[in-house]
Symmetry: C2
Subunit: 330 residues, 2 copies
């Protein structure tokens, strides 16, 4: 259990370190509080024994440990209002009804990245609420045709398929069959329905049913897949904790690896609105903090996340994510 003053000191150290990125000495703190540097040093020593602070070397100032950051975000952090300019910029995007949701997300997170110097990630999954609305087929030439799939929430996916020796008639029959039988099916159930209801039928009266089936299967797999989008990757370079080229390489390669990013939303705590994973608490890289939240509209659901150094402006990022989440869920 920390005393009031210890909490005050920890908070100041975290805030100051986030601001200046240099270990914080006792003198800086005693200017803020009304006591001598020696008193602060004693308190610091105690906070260090509790694992909340660390030193970079024997006679350096203190730096928050991961546990220290954790204590800060859980108990000490104050969420101050977003400033007017920030809200204004974001609002112009949310008010632009021309944009698709995925564009709104990447545009607004681009702004967040610019404002904060962190990197944003959008994980976008077509929601279960998307139901097949219409399938149409446009023949391009005798061997190639294009399948266009539209969901009732307005998603469009298309794919070229090359079909040698399948007659246009057979294709049209199949499309009609699909349209009749699985329109209205949630997209994540389409694959199963295609396999167990459509396949048996077309295999009877379509010669190259295997090819045809595979082509449609691919289209539906694409449409229900996850979509990863990383915004403001270059901001990684702005933070002194990543001014080592090897580290930068490492992080960049992780940000390019969709598998790693897809697992960002693995163990999300549904009770919390915004989740914070400091250093080793996240599975991406022990030197970063990830702050994320899930969103869910009737069209769409997914995760938005901000990734930056552990020395991150926690309150600002939490505020921004919260604001964006609320706006898009409207």
């Amino acid at each position: 259990m920390l005393t009031k003053r210890q909490e005050e000191i920890l908070k100041l150290i975290v805030i100051e370190y986030i601001k200046l990125a240099k270990p914080v000495g006792s003198k800086l703190i005693c200017d803020e509080l009304n006591c001598s540097s020696a008193t602060i040093r004693n308190e610091m020593q105690e906070l260090e024994e509790l694992g909340l602070l660390e030193k970079t070397h024997t006679s350096s100032g203190r730096v928050p440990s991961e546990k220290g950051y954790r204590y800060y975000v859980d108990n000490l952090m104050e969420l101050k209002e977003l400033n007017g300019e920030e809200v204004f910029k974001l609002q112009t995007i949310f008010n632009n009804h021309q944009l698709e949701l995925s564009d709104v997300l990447s545009e607004s997170l681009k702004i967040v990245s610019d404002m904060t110097s962190y990197t944003s990630i959008v994980l976008d999954t077509k929601s279960h609420d998307n139901k097949l609305k219409e399938i149409s087929v446009v023949p391009i030439n005798p061997e190639v045709l294009i399948v266009v799939v539209v969901t009732d929430q307005g998603y469009v996916e298309h794919k070229d398929i090359e079909l040698k020796g399948v007659s246009l008639d057979e294709i049209k029959k199949t499309v009609k069959l699909i349209n009749d039988l699985i329109i209205g099916t949630p997209i994540d159930e389409v694959s199963a329905k295609l396999e167990f209801e459509i396949k048996p039928i077309i295999s009877k009266y379509v010669k190259q049913h295997e090819i045809l089936y595979n082509a449609f299967y691919d289209v539906f797999t694409d449409i229900s897949s996850k979509n990863v989008n990383v915004v403001g990757k270059n901001n990684i370079l702005k933070h002194q904790e990543f001014n080592d080229l090897e580290k930068v390489k490492d992080i960049f390669s992780k940000l390019d690896n969709e598998e790693i990013l897809e697992n960002i939303d693995a163990n999300i705590d549904e009770n919390k609105n915004i989740n914070i994973y400091i250093g080793h608490e996240n599975s991406v890289d022990p030197d970063v903090t990830i702050i994320k939240t899930n969103y869910k509209t009737n069209k769409d659901e997914g995760t938005i996340a901000i990734i930056g150094p552990k020395r991150m402006e926690y309150s600002k990022v939490v505020n921004l994510l919260d604001y964006i989440k609320k706006q898009i869920e409207r």
Copy 2:
């Protein structure tokens, strides 16, 4: 006019410097040629006076100047065969007829980037040969509908449009009009046709014709726009000429700037199959070399480019680009 021996020396220095990235001294060269280091030094001095070589400091070995690289690629470079593994990897992509051209390009350039440690850029423009094939409209709800446009070469573009107070009937009329009047029009002429032929008509009998017109205009603008794709950006970090964080920031921001990249294909020399822009010869960054080529199929045209340090494996890159160009133009 260079003597045979001077050319030999220049060539060796370029090759050696590309390989080892360290200024090349006279001793290294005299092992290759049969003469003493002093002789080489005299020749080097002359090559330096001609502006083909440079020194990093008074007593360092020599490094090729931009003019030196230029002389090398114009006169000395030997194009050796691609090795089997490289060809094999690429071939599996070209043989996969499932993929769209844009996927083939980015996949194959991804492989090139992996093999060479350079960065690739694809500038993809829908060709003039794309003609409007079909426009269809899917209403999602009373206020939103989706326009899907397909060209005769198989491109698909779609866009949500929000239309308050426009009746479905009016929309259908407009679509029919467009389908009747401009199907078959090359996509880069569609905008004009839309403005001068369609707009006057719909303005007569559609109430909110302005909104409707703008919506379609946007769709056609999107479909005829350029497409920029950068592959293997992280490879920048692998080269010692870019091991300075400021430089990396600079180049990365240029690679993110589509305007800069779109101008990569500005002054292309149509006579040459492959164009090489060394250092100040390109407009992107004086520290890089860009090697590029245009491609043109009946569906598509564009530019593929490789960007890397001036100390680049010129012959390998030229070979690879040439190979890819030929394969996709088949």
